[in-house]
């Protein structure tokens, strides 16, 4: 595989051709915030939190999707990016019903982490207070659509790691939601294997372990990474 050299934040970085800007940046120790991206799953490019500026004009591109190119000039740390990222997180909060103080994932939530990391100290957009349901029909897990940010991590984990493809997205725009099989109660899903990978993948408290009370969620994300390494590298390291 040929190598390419690009510049990230004024630093020369070498990356393999075909790699994403995100991978190249992280390999060089440069952090780029992400939400819908999970190592080992295909990229989705939905959340836009990983936006970077590319080229002299500073074109906005999602780092998780953007392939590296020879001579590319990338910035990950401008004021404009910081403002956009914060705005993205604020929009996510305004779009759903996220109440950290009474959420099962309080303290273990990537949306909450993103809010802290982007310096979101208040919400500038009006909350939409959507009316969304909770499906607790599954034996072990539940889904609270109020807390779903439509990152599709559950969809990809279920499809790409478990191979069941129980989850998918139905509807459009503000009416979009994740569904199990043909939009039937999760507990009645004929394809769900109850493996829990969607729960491990979910960044928020949207998919939760039944019986959890507030701030009691441990997603066990390291197990997801264990599976990815086992699958891709044939390494079983715990």
């Amino acid at each position: 595989m040929s190598a390419v050299t690009l510049t990230i934040n004024d630093r020369l970085v070498t990356a393999a051709a075909g790699e994403t800007v995100l991978a190249a940046a992280r390999a060089a120790g440069i952090d780029v915030p992400t939400l819908c991206y999970v190592d080992g799953l295909s990229a989705h490019g939905g959340c836009r939190l990983c936006l970077v500026e590319v080229g002299a004009g500073g074109r906005l591109q999602p780092a998780c999707f953007m392939p590296v190119a020879e001579g590319m000039v990338v910035r990950t740390d401008t004021d404009r990016l910081a403002e956009y990222r914060r705005m993205i997180v604020e929009l996510l909060f305004a779009e759903g019903n996220h109440v950290c103080s009474v959420c099962v994932a309080n303290g273990n939530c990537e949306l909450q982490d993103a809010a802290a990391a982007t310096g979101m100290d208040h919400e500038r957009f009006e909350y939409t207070y959507p009316k969304r349901a909770v499906d607790a029909s599954h034996d072990r897990f539940g889904i609270d659509h109020n807390r779903c940010v439509l990152c599709t991590r559950c969809v990809r984990a279920c499809d790409e790691l478990e191979g069941a493809h129980t989850w998918d997205v139905a509807g459009r725009g503000a009416g979009a939601k994740v569904v199990t099989d043909l939009n039937q109660p999760w507990g009645e899903s004929p394809t769900c294997t109850s493996c829990g990978k969607c729960f491990m993948a979910c960044p928020t408290g949207a998919i939760f372990r039944k019986g959890s009370t507030v701030a009691e969620t441990d997603h066990g994300r390291d197990r997801l990474q264990f599976l990815v390494a086992a699958r891709e590298k044939k390494q079983w390291i715990v």
Partner: protein, 472 residues
């Protein structure tokens, strides 16, 4: 011309409320009402939530007694799971309820009420607060603050955070008491006990001085309601609900799950807090809950020092123990009992048990959880779907159950003290103090003690403000 006096907001209580006094043409009060002006609509919000989350969500109802809401909620959850809670978890939950009673009562007595008691009802309102108390009697103020901290620390040790510990859960608790924390509690026990005994001595010394207040601050016969243990002793966590008459006769003693057969609730047009009464007697069945009621219904406290005080308290006679002013006394005896109970149970190895939570699915469509909150008996009643989502929730709180008695109290005080349109500040404070004796918790949030301005309006029958008085 008939006037109305309005005290708004009422200070040094938990939440926001006002008092209005209706005057007749001669300026004599005819009736007074205690209005709760905040609406929070919690019960509606709960619908559709998984019942497992309810303890922590309902704990948000109140920043003063979150443990009580957690406990009542988790107990309702226990019934939905239809499990037997591990004995160690029951002991840990009990420990938390004692710590809760202790810290809440310490707040009520030292921070909110003792300025009236120690500095005087007519003292300078700018200094009649915890800060004035610190200036006047720094040792007592400090001891009171440390006593409250003692209870808070136990709750923090159990729950991980002192204000909203989501630690009591359906089926048990999340973890046991760490050994280091137990040792901290042990070290501070003697001081907590001493502070309480000092406060009791002080209060008893003041009873003579407040004889007049005792007579008019809500002294009237009512029924009382509280939990009692199987042996009839004082109880905060479990047991039967006992209604007794003003003279102490037991009228009913039943399982809390049957509360709806005995307690009727009615909404009032003038307050966001419902009123309740003893159903078999209709709206005349006024009862009180809380420290005074608990000490009126139980047969004994169950610890040596508290029992000694209890005998003295009850020795005052049933007429006396129907005086709401004695809520303060009852509260102090309950602190003492809580300290002693914590002491008695501290070395129980179960407090460090690993078996503290029973897990199960939804096995029953309904649950009623009941415990004694510092301010009085508390019920959480949930109905859930097969999947455990809340279909309906009913929370019956102490302040609603004391509502009728509080209205009677302000009426009694107004009739006694108000003789014309000119009302001195000290009298307004007495109206508030009458309410404060009940330590009502109107909502959620505390506000800086004694810092709120008092707004009084005299309002004519046509709604026109005749005169207005502001303090603070």
């Amino acid at each position: 011309m008939a006037d109305r006096i309005v005290i708004d907001p009422v200070t040094r209580i938990e939440g926001h409320a006002k008092i209005t006094v209706q005057l007749d043409a001669d300026g004599r009060p005819t009736e007074a009402r205690f209005h709760v002006t905040e609406f929070r609509g919690f019960e509606k919000m709960y619908e559709g939530r998984p019942f497992w989350e309810m303890p922590a969500i309902t704990a948000r109802v109140c920043g003063i007694c979150p443990v009580s809401h957690l406990t009542a909620s988790a107990k309702a959850g226990d019934q939905i799971l239809a499990v037997r809670v591990p004995p160690a978890a029951v002991k840990l939950r009990r420990l938390a309820t004692w710590a809760q009673v202790l810290q809440s009562h310490a707040l009520s007595f030292f921070h909110l009420s003792s300025p009236d008691l120690l500095l005087g009802m007519d003292s300078d309102p700018a200094r009649r607060n915890i800060f004035g108390l610190i200036a006047e009697n720094p040792d007592l103020a400090r001891a009171g603050i440390r006593l409250r901290q003692f209870g808070q620390r136990i709750i923090a040790a159990l729950g991980g955070q002192k204000i909203h510990p989501a630690w009591v859960v359906p089926g048990g608790v999340r973890h046991a008491l760490p050994v280091e924390e137990r040792e901290w509690v042990r070290e501070r026990l003697p001081e907590a006990k001493q502070t309480t005994l000092t406060a009791i001595g002080l209060f008893k010394g003041l009873m003579e001085k407040f004889r007049a207040e005792t007579e008019v601050f809500g002294k009237f016969p009512t029924m009382h309601l509280g939990l009692v243990a199987a042996d009839g002793s004082w109880e905060t966590y479990d047991g039967a609900m006992r209604f007794c008459d003003a003279d102490g006769t037991t009228v009913a003693e039943v399982a809390p799950a049957r509360y709806q057969e005995f307690i009727a609730e009615k909404a009032e047009s003038w307050s966001f807090v419902k009123s309740t009464y003893f159903k078999p007697r209709g709206p005349a069945g006024v009862y009180r809950v809380g420290p005074l009621a608990r000490l009126n219904v139980c047969d004994r406290m169950g610890t040596p020092l508290a029992d000694r005080e209890f005998i003295e308290f009850r020795g005052l006679g049933r007429e006396a123990t129907n005086a709401s002013f004695l809520f303060h006394y009852a509260r102090l005896i309950e602190i003492l009992c809580s300290v002693e109970k914590i002491e008695q149970h501290l070395d129980d190895p179960d407090l460090q048990s690993a078996h503290v939570r029973a897990e199960a699915g939804v096995n029953s469509p309904e649950g009623v959880g009941c415990c004694e909150a510092p301010r009085g008996i508390l019920f959480h009643h949930y109905k859930v779907t097969d999947d455990g989502l809340i279909r309906s929730a009913n929370l019956l709180i102490a302040t609603a159950q004391n509502n009728l008695a509080m209205n009677r109290t302000v009426t009694q005080i107004a009739k006694h003290y108000i003789t014309g349109r000119d009302v001195p500040e000290g009298i307004l404070n007495r109206l508030e103090a009458g309410i404060r004796a009940f330590d009502p918790c109107l909502s959620c949030s505390t506000h800086a003690a004694g810092q709120m301005p008092l707004h009084v309006e005299l309002v004519g029958p046509d709604g026109e403000v005749v005169s207005s008085l502001r303090r603070g």
